[in-house]
């Protein structure tokens, strides 16, 4: 099998990589680039723990091939905060207690960033509908919905400094 040369931008940094055709995006991000915030759980595109953004759209990195991100911009949880300044979604998750074990959290937060880019002021029902592909086994979801609604308000009213995508 021939390795595929590719260029990809990950969290704003350009990479020139050579990947085997069967390498998944999660393998590429975790094992090649050391982005261990991308979490693997179900490995079959059900739980959303591995959610990252490819050109601002949420994808399950466990079931996307690395070379499919060729020429694109990938954003992971590591690329969200600006130095010590958390992204408003991250802040809301902390303030609202929207995490326990935290294993679902990176994927949850990335899916939220995508949701709020598409729909800046969702209703609770729209949040539940959009986020149904992200599973959390710990929190019972209530505080995650609250955090997402709070983040949406914060993004609408606050200075939009960090959600550039």
């Amino acid at each position: 099998m021939n390795a595929i040369p590719m260029s990809v931008t990950v969290n704003g940094e350009a990479h020139a990589l050579t990947v085997p055709p069967h390498e998944t995006l999660i393998e590429c991000l975790r094992d090649r680039l050391g982005l261990l915030g991308v979490k693997k759980s179900c490995d079959v595109q059900v739980c959303g723990a591995c959610t990252v953004l490819v050109d601002d759209r949420p994808v399950s990195a466990c079931t996307v091939l690395a070379f499919e991100a060729r020429g694109k911009h990938v954003r992971t949880i590591e690329g969200l905060a600006h130095g010590d300044d958390l992204h408003p979604v991250q802040e809301a998750f902390v303030e609202h207690g929207a995490l326990q074990c935290g294993f679902c959290t990176p994927g949850m937060i990335m899916a939220t960033v995508a949701l709020l880019a598409e729909n800046p002021s969702p209703t609770a029902d729209e949040v539940k509908h959009y986020m149904r592909g992200n599973i959390c086994r710990c929190t019972g979801y209530k505080r995650i919905v609250e955090a997402i609604l709070a983040a949406s308000e914060r993004l609408a009213t606050g200075p939009r400094t960090t959600d550039g995508g």
């Binding site: 179900c42 739980c47 207690g97 995490l99 326990q100 935290g102 294993f103 959290t105 149904r132 919905v145």
Partner: protein, 761 residues
């Protein structure tokens, strides 16, 4: 210390791990990378019961990148079997496999993909044996006896008294009897007799089991997401026949556990493989493999209850059968607890309880949030409503009349009830709008339950170091599974010491550095470890005050510590000034030690209950008569936490637990056929999603500072799972008049029940 004077405890401070968890910096075992690390994959039995004839691993061994292909006989161990109750579970199957999915051969290779690829080259010959794939089959005459000899583990005091039934598959038979059953039944105005069923469940913590092991001249080091680092260390020491000091178990953050990571699981195999290939080995299971490692017991409960016309409970006969799978794990203790809690939190003069833990050729069943209480509560609280309906008494009134009161004993000699359950149930009932009018097809239901919390004869020790700059290191063996243990314990230490919360750091448990702790289970960390932490902090505080007294030339009793400063009148010293003042240099530290040793050997469970974890639940449902679908519109969970150390995290634990109760009430279940698990992964095993969140999900924290823990705290985290299923079932019955006795209450089951009832509104 008066509660209104508290400055750190009782406040919803941000979790210590929150920042790392939202930035992706949090590290779990599955993120561990060691230089030269190799990867293991397992060949698992495709059949539930078989004699192993031959394993041919030659082709796999020759495959690219493969370092070793190991069967049980290739493992460099002194003993093959382990287990917390019986040493009945081999690290890899030898001679016989007892469940479909049991690991038989391990392949170690330089990459996970190469190890995986080599599995297909392994050839195992076996001869199938008759299998018992549920507890009924396993108890039938002529059933295959799955273990012919049982070797007691000897790890835990309460498990010394296990009563297996020789020559059968019953590995524990718990019995309890009081009062004259025949007389009570003769005196009763009503006797209700029902059978309830609760299916096996998968924990599905999002992080599957993972262990990384290294074996070198210094000994064995295992990084694992275990809830029991010290018991795992003991197992490893026995398996490899080395002193405890040569085994180190380190537990980073854990991506959820819910009991599924209790006791020893894959750690011995990872260590044995590392010893074999002389390289660090990572054994990371898939989520499906985790579901083939451990389950929640499926339980059948037969309940016969005798009651007087006025609703007074006279007698309860409970027959509880648990399918514990092919290896006992902690099943015998789950059976004991399920049996002992089956009657419910009521004053019942006459009891007869039989609980049997039965080996079958299924995946082993063990601990799962609530230790058998959710299963028996499904039965006992459903039946309370059946009784209420038959007698025409309001279900709340019936419960209130029979609930144990504060100070009453559940079982003679055990700790009396330390809370007011009727009050808690009343709060839940009011919050759900009990008694208010409802629209058609809606109904409300209640349930309540209790469980002995804090663990059975479980010791905890903590150490507090105050560094020369006044910062604090808290060493505690409580693992962080997401419950917020590190944060709560840091709050207890900060409050007791009189330092700001931010001054305290809580490193990951490491059995070579952290003092002994029994484990993180049974909602015990805040209460039991909390007491050890408070004692350690008090010890350190007293030492500091003694040092400061000399420097300030005042008696220690005249000094105060607040916000990290020691004051006498208007003179103050920082902790750093006290420590360097005493040692005369910038170094030095003050170290406090605290230990909790549980009370006397007594009570029905072989140890005094530390505290009673009580849960009260109230549900409002709407039933779609066309489809049988049950919608939970509102759910209220009440938890008696004594004193919330961190109210936000307490409520969050309780909400999460309630959702873990709602899942099995409505749709969660493992589906098996002839010993094959048909839904191992998340594609077919449905867990609650955002879509299942009720319109209102509320947690009420009951705080009377009446717990035995620090500042009056009691444990929390399991009780939310107790009541959801029966409260929802009771609400369905009140909404549309059909009662289900088997979980989950799927649309099909509800629809069939409606149809067979005639479906008239």
């Amino acid at each position: 210390m008066a509660v209104d004077r508290l400055t750190v405890v009782g406040r919803s401070v941000p979790r210590l791990d929150a920042h790392d968890k939202v930035t992706g910096a949090a590290r779990y075992v599955s993120d561990f990378i060691l230089p030269g690390m190799a990867h293991a994959k397992l060949w698992r039995s495709p059949v539930p019961h078989a004699r192993l004839l031959a394993v041919d691993g030659a082709r796999a061994a020759a495959a690219p990148g493969v370092l070793a292909v190991c069967t049980a006989d290739d493992l460099p161990v002194k003993r093959l079997a382990y287990g917390p109750a019986y040493k009945d579970q081999p690290i890899l199957a030898r001679e016989v496999v007892r469940y479909a999915g049991e690991p038989v051969v391990a392949v170690v290779a330089d990459t996970p993909a190469r190890a995986d690829a080599a599995l297909a080259l392994i050839d195992v010959r076996y001869e199938e044996l008759p299998a018992a794939t549920n507890a009924e089959e396993a108890q039938a005459p002529g059933a295959p006896v799955i273990h012919t000899t049982l070797d007691r583990a000897g790890h835990f005091r309460d498990l010394d008294g296990l009563r297996p039934v020789a020559g059968t598959n019953v590995c524990q038979h718990y019995r309890y009897e009081r009062g004259d059953l025949a007389r009570a039944v003769a005196e009763a105005d009503l006797v209700v007799d029902d059978v309830y069923r609760y299916p096996a469940l998968s924990h599905h913590a999002l992080e599957p089991h993972c262990a990384v092991a290294r074996v070198d001249a210094d000994g064995i080091t295992v990084w694992s997401g275990t809830q029991h680092p010290f018991p795992v260390r003991k197992d490893l020491a026995e398996i490899f026949d080395v002193p405890l000091a040569h085994v180190q178990v380190v537990v980073p953050l854990i991506g959820g556990a819910f009991g599924g990571k209790c006791y020893t699981k894959i750690e011995p195999l990872a260590a044995a493989l590392a010893a074999r290939v002389r390289r660090p080995v990572r054994l990371a299971l898939t989520l499906e493999e985790s579901a083939r490692t451990i389950t929640r017991h499926s339980v059948v409960v037969r309940l016969r209850t005798a009651v007087r016309r006025d609703g007074t409970l006279l007698a309860r006969e409970c027959d509880v059968v648990l399918d514990t799978g092919a290896y006992a794990d902690i099943g015998p203790r789950v059976a004991t607890k399920a049996g002992s809690r089956a009657p419910g939190p009521y004053r019942i003069p006459c009891l007869r309880i039989d609980a049997r833990c039965v080996y079958t050729n299924n995946v082993p069943a063990g601990a799962y949030r609530g230790y058998g209480v959710p299963q028996v509560t499904w039965a006992s609280e459903s039946q309370i409503d059946v009784i209420a309906e038959r007698l025409g008494i309001d279900p709340f009134t019936l419960r209130e009349r029979n609930l144990l009161k504060r100070g009453e004993e559940y079982v003679a000699g055990d700790t009396p009830l330390d809370g007011d359950m009727a009050d808690g149930l009343g709060q839940a009932a009011r919050a759900i709008g009990w008694g208010a009018p409802l629209t058609r097809n809606r109904g409300r239901g209640l349930a309540c339950a209790m469980k002995d919390g804090g663990g059975t004869h479980a010791v905890s020790t903590a150490v507090v170091h105050i560094n020369a700059d006044g910062s604090v290191i808290l060493l505690s063996g409580s693992v962080e599974v997401g419950q917020g243990a590190r944060t709560a314990l840091a709050q207890i230490a900060a409050e007791t010491l009189g330092v700001p919360f931010e001054a305290v750091v809580v490193p990951a448990p490491d059995t070579s550095l952290t003092p002994y702790d029994h484990g993180t289970s049974a909602s015990r960390s805040t209460t039991v470890m909390g007491l050890a932490v408070a004692a350690a902090a008090k010890d350190a505080r007293e030492q500091l005050l003694a040092l400061a007294a000399k420097l300030l030339d005042a008696p220690p009793s005249a000094l105060t510590i607040r916000e990290g400063k020691i004051a006498h009148g208007n003179r103050t010293l920082t902790l750093a000034e006290v420590i360097s003042g005493h040692f005369g240099l910038v170094g030095g530290e003050v170290t406090g030690v605290g230990t909790f040793v549980p009370g006397e050997w007594s009570g029905s469970l072989g140890g005094a209950t530390v505290f009673w974890e009580t849960g009260m639940g109230a549900a409002e449902v709407e039933v779609d008569r066309e489809t049988g679908e049950v919608h939970v519109r509102k759910y209220v969970s009440a938890a008696d936490v004594g004193q919330a150390i961190n109210p936000r995290e307490c409520a969050a634990q309780d909400e999460g637990a309630a959702m873990q109760g709602i899942g099995p009430a409505l749709f969660e279940a493992r589906v098996g056929e002839r010993g094959q698990l048909l839904n191992p992964g998340l594609i077919d095993y449905r867990v609650p999603t955002f879509a299942d969140l009720p319109e209102a999900l509320d947690s009420l924290l009951i705080e009377n500072a009446d717990g035995p823990g620090p500042f009056g705290a009691k444990g929390v985290g399991e009780s939310g799972t107790f009541c959801a299923a029966p409260a929802i079932g009771n609400a369905v019955a009140r909404a549309v008049g059909v009662r289900l006795t088997e979980l989950p209450m799927t649309p099909e089951r509800v629809w069939h029940a409606l149809v067979s009832k005639g479906a008239s509104p």
